[in-house]
């Protein structure tokens, strides 16, 4: 296991170098730079002299490889640099946004799992009954609705009409509820369909009918065998979802004023804030690789026959 983890960490270093270089190159090639964005932010044109002086002060007039090398050396020293937009340390910005994104990601994941796990097992057991049809219909609808529409509908009905929750939310649990709900609805739809399919797949296996014919209790078969075997694909789905959630959700974060990683990254791209974009890419790459690694380790934990390769 130790070797396996070491190998994956080595891969991670290669991934980080390649991704950071590619991101830097793409941002460099994209029209516009941080100086133009900063100076023209409010629609007032500035002179070419001011623009050139600002570019020079920000180091944007240097060749691409010098800029990238400078940034990479900083990272090796543990310094992700400062934001071009507001001068704040990138690490501090990431840390602040990560707190919010983690809260939103885990809150929405908890909501989704609480609903989708029991319902998917129930609908698999009650296949083709009215309950199954209703849940499948709603999971299909939830999965099809775009995030912005769900957000606006929730806001309209829960905040404007029912006055149950505030539109202007803060970072309290009450403030978290609406964005977490908006993020969890399509996720629940996806989980329901995938978890149900996995449970059904296991229920159709010959070992289940064999156990039933041997008189083993259905409840025992379900908990001891079916769910155990369905667990690995479910872990894969959840693991991938956690990686995505930690990248932040621009739409939800913008609508609900939630200052997470998605909104931070979007603002950084708009402002060509290279240090923040690079920091975000590094962070999300690490999270994605680590979540996948943990998922692989979890496979082994759930089923010791599965050995990480």
């Amino acid at each position: 296991m130790g070797n396996y983890i070491g190998k994956r960490m080595l891969h991670l270093v290669g991934i980080l170098i390649a991704l950071s270089f590619l991101t830097f190159l793409l941002m460099y090639l994209t029209p516009g730079d941080a100086a133009t964005k900063k100076l023209n932010a409010q629609g007032i044109a500035v002179s070419q002299e001011v623009l050139d002086a600002t570019r020079k002060a920000m180091g944007l007039d240097r060749p691409f490889l010098v800029q990238y090398g400078d940034w990479a050396l900083g990272v090796l020293r543990g310094d992700l640099g400062d934001s071009y937009k507001d001068g704040q340390a990138v690490a501090a910005k990431l840390g602040k946004a990560l707190g919010y994104t983690a809260l939103l990601a885990l809150g929405s994941l908890a909501l989704s799992l609480l609903v989708s796990l029991p319902l998917s097992v129930l609908t698999a057991l009650k296949k083709d009954t009215a309950l199954d049809h209703i849940v499948r219909f709603f999971s299909f609808v939830a999965n099809s609705l775009p995030n912005f529409l769900i957000s606006v509908l929730l806001m309209y009905f829960l905040c404007v009409k029912a006055r149950l929750l505030p539109v202007v939310a803060d970072d309290s649990l009450r403030g978290l509820l609406l964005p977490a709900l908006a993020l969890s609805i399509p996720m629940t739809g996806r989980f329901l369909r995938q978890f149900r399919a996995e449970v059904l797949e296991q229920l159709s296996q010959s070992y289940v009918s064999g156990a039933v014919s041997r008189g083993v209790k259905r409840r025992y078969i379900l908990w001891r065998n079916v769910l155990h075997n369905a667990c690995i694909p479910i872990l894969t789905v959840v693991g991938l979802q956690i990686g995505t959630l930690f990248g932040g959700s621009v739409v939800i974060e913008t609508i609900f004023r939630w200052p997470g990683l998605g909104k931070m990254a979007m603002d950084a791209i708009t402002n060509r804030d290279y240090p923040v974009i690079q920091g975000f890419v590094l962070f999300t790459s690490v999270v994605y690789v680590l979540v996948n690694l943990l998922t692989d380790i979890a496979y082994h934990w759930v089923d010791p026959r599965v050995r990480p390769e």
Partner: protein
């Protein structure tokens, strides 16, 4: 059984993590409360305090007015004040300064401060502090690096002089009314989060790029402040603002969209809408290097900016020139829409209508490329122009880019280039004229050049008489209009919504950087 325990454990872990993260995020929030020593003395009534709640589309990470564009927001928050301000009628009015006079050379200005002006902690405003502020702006703000070349001196406690390297008649409009020139007590403990300033409100709490809470400055030097406080919520999603208004969580905001305006208009007893012409200009440049004079004339005779303004739901007013018609430097004219005249102009250039309904010459259809970017309704304008041009037989192809400032604006690779900018920064036409019509400007790539125009711009740069400046500006803009070098489409309206009873939230100012003041009430 083991599996059930496992699932229960997983769920519990997820929930615990969520709750733990929840606690963590709270401590991570760097919301700064202003130091108690700097907090204004409030004599708020024991009854319910009058707190106004407004939404703002932008928020910055610092309250240091001198850096970046922060000054716009410290001005909106009622925190900072400038030496002079621009009135709703675009006139320059005294604020922290009583008057400004130039000497015979036109280079040295003597500024006299209002002796009553003071910071929210009671410390009087001195000329020496103003000098330090002006010098610092030149140091920390790239847009005002030229201020470093000024000689700025305190003469006595309430008088200072500013000597510029050249005659600079727009010192007041370009600099001293500019929100970035907001005056702060530079000895404040924390300029980024709780600067002590002279405005009617002082910082109560500040969340970088988030909510800002302001408290009444009970010691305000320029009259009694009506409100006990103001809360500014950072909300850049239009739907969220609309619903926050509908749920009664905010009292008002500016930059109302056409769709939201329609909703508010339907309930006049619940919402008060104020619409005034503002200074953000939508225009296009006609590339003289690619389009003949006849085709440019035809395009300008075809584009119907009244129809465009109607389509945009009252968010813009049709423009004649770059400035509002009520300004003394907005007195220009342009021909009315004339489809027959447009066709005649094209035909005079040797073009003939083909079977497809487009003009054609030497086997080539008359095709123009309209470049635009996705902001300020320019994409809608490009589409509408395409339709209008098609009706006269001109084929328009659309090229949308994300960033005009680094593409067509600086390469000149366009037939028609749409753009949006603030044309009137503070009640003077020079900035816009210099940016658009100078031979050395970015837009000169469109080919507009006239020696006479250049001379007039030079004259405008040093003219100190306001009436003469307006006359020069009108002459210059008219030349550009007559040359069909530009098309001025619309001036954005400033649309503000508020609940009944709310007043003086900057709804009558054409500028975005004014909002609350001492007279703001609810």
């Amino acid at each position: 059984m083991k599996m059930r325990n496992l699932i229960a454990l997983l769920l519990a872990a997820v929930m615990l993590l969520a709750l733990a993260a929840c606690g963590g995020a709270k401590t991570d929030t760097p919301k700064t409360d202003a130091p108690k020593a700097d907090a204004p003395k409030t004599d708020a009534p024991a009854a319910e305090p009058k707190i106004l709640k407004l939404a703002e589309s932008f928020a910055y990470a610092s309250l240091d007015a001198h850096k970046d564009w922060n000054g716009w927001y410290t001005s909106i928050y009622g925190l900072t004040e400038t030496l002079f301000k621009v009135g709703d009628d675009l006139s320059v009015q005294p604020l922290l300064a009583e008057k400004a006079e130039t000497d015979d050379t036109g280079r040295t200005w003597t500024i006299t401060l209002n002796p009553k002006a003071a910071f929210s902690d009671g410390k009087p405003l001195t000329a020496e502090m103003v000098v330090r502020n002006l010098q610092r702006i030149g140091e920390v703000n790239e847009r005002f690096a030229d201020v470093k070349g000024y000689e700025i001196k305190a003469v006595d406690a309430h008088t200072l002089t500013i000597t510029t390297p050249e005659v600079f008649p727009t010192l007041l409009t370009d600099k001293l009314t500019n929100a970035a020139f907001g005056i702060m007590d530079l000895d404040s403990a924390d300029l980024d989060h709780a600067p002590v300033c002279t405005g009617p409100f002082a910082v109560k709490s500040f969340e970088p790029e988030g909510t800002v809470e302001m408290a009444r400055n009970a010691a305000y030097w320029n009259g009694e402040v009506q409100l006990d406080g103001v809360i500014f919520y950072y909300m850049n999603d239009d739907e969220s603002k609309l619903m926050a208004m509908q749920s009664g969580e905010i009292d008002g905001y500016s930059s109302v969209t056409a769709a939201a305006k329609q909703i508010y208009s339907a309930e006049p007893d619940r919402y008060v809408l104020t619409v005034i012409p503002a200074t953000r200009l939508q225009f296009y440049v006609l590339n003289e290097n690619r389009l003949s004079a006849a085709v440019r004339k035809a395009i300008n005779l075809t584009v119907d900016n009244k129809a465009i303004a109607d389509f945009l739901g009252g968010t813009v007013s049709p423009a004649v020139g770059p400035f509002g018609a009520s300004a003394p430097y907005g007195k220009v004219t342009k021909p009315a829409v004339d489809i027959a005249g447009a066709k005649a102009a094209i035909e005079s250039d040797g073009w003939k209508l083909n079977a497809a309904g487009y003009y054609e010459k030497d086997g080539k259809e008359l095709t123009v490329n309209i470049c635009y970017y996705f902001a300020r309704s320019l994409d809608s304008i490009a589409l509408l122009m395409q339709e209008q041009l098609k009706a006269v037989g001109v084929k328009a192809e659309l090229t949308g880019v994300e960033d005009a400032d680094s593409t067509y604006r600086v390469t000149g690779d366009y037939d028609i280039a749409l753009y949006c900018m603030i044309a009137d920064q503070a009640g003077d036409p020079y900035y816009c004229i210099n940016a658009l019509f100078r031979q050395s400007s970015d837009w000169a790539l469109g080919g507009f050049h006239s020696d006479e125009c250049e001379k007039l711009i030079d004259a405008l740069a040093s003219e100190t008489d306001t009436a003469r400046r307006a006359a020069l500006a009108n002459q210059i803009v008219q030349m550009a209009i007559d040359d069909n070098a530009f098309g001025f489409v619309g001036l954005f309206n400033k649309t503000t919504v508020a609940v009944p009873g709310v007043k003086n939230i900057g709804e009558n100012s054409p500028f975005d950087f004014y909002a609350v003041n001492a007279a703001t009430d609810k």
